[in-house]
């Protein structure tokens, strides 16, 4: 699954570690999601959407 996480994070000026702290997950998790190697659960995806104040569909897209 593709995502805009890296772009959104850069717009906020956050490092992977900053975002990880805000979500209470490890930096490795953020990296795995950003690289599209790990798809987060719905609760974590909603948490991301709330944090970036944007709909989930604008963060994640189901194209391969």
């Amino acid at each position: 699954m593709k995502n805009q996480l890296r772009v959104l994070r850069a717009q906020m000026g956050w490092s992977q570690a900053d975002l990880a702290d805000r979500l209470e997950v490890s930096r490795q998790s953020i990296n795995a999601i950003e690289t599209g190697k790990y798809d987060p659960s719905l609760p974590l995806a909603f948490k991301l959407a709330r944090l970036f104040e944007t709909p989930i569909e604008q963060i994640f897209s189901d194209e391969e």
């Binding site: 997950v25 490890s26 999601i33 190697k37 790990y38 974590l44």
Partner: protein, 133 residues
């Protein structure tokens, strides 16, 4: 081990692990000293199995860690590592069992299965994490 050091789930896991290991060492000492004497009956079985109890408790400790860890990615990696290790342990012990049955190989003591399993979890975990880099 799996996450940032400030992770409270890791702290609790480490604390419980240390408690379990302390009981393990204590029970080993008790068993070794007790069996210097000739012990029979139910007490012998109980004393002989005693050191295994903290090891079995480690499964519960890992279960608690998985329940308390908030980071789903880390949970996912650990569960995958455990599954790989279960598969490798069962494969090794089954193959070795047949080798012992039909050809001359050294006996593999059953109490070594558990450390073998955790060793394999330790090998699988960093390998699986590399997949997600």
């Amino acid at each position: 081990m799996l996450c940032t050091p400030k992770n409270p789930a890791i702290h609790r896991y480490t604390y419980r692990l240390l408690v379990a290991m302390s009981f393990y060492i204590a029970f080993i000492v008790v068993a070794v000293y007790a069996f210097r004497e000739h012990i029979t009956g139910p007490l012998a079985y109980l004393l002989a199995a005693l050191p295994a109890l903290p090891i079995v408790a480690m499964l519960a400790i890992i279960g608690l860690y998985l329940a308390e860890e908030k980071d789903e990615f880390q949970r996912n990696v650990l569960v995958q590592s455990i599954l790989w290790a279960v598969g490798a342990t069962l494969s090794f012990t089954t193959i070795w069992g047949f080798l012992e049955l039909f050809v001359a190989v050294p006996h593999f003591d059953l109490y070594l299965v558990f450390p073998l399993f955790w060793g394999l979890v330790g090998v699988a975990s960093p390998l699986l994490k590399r997949r997600y880099r």
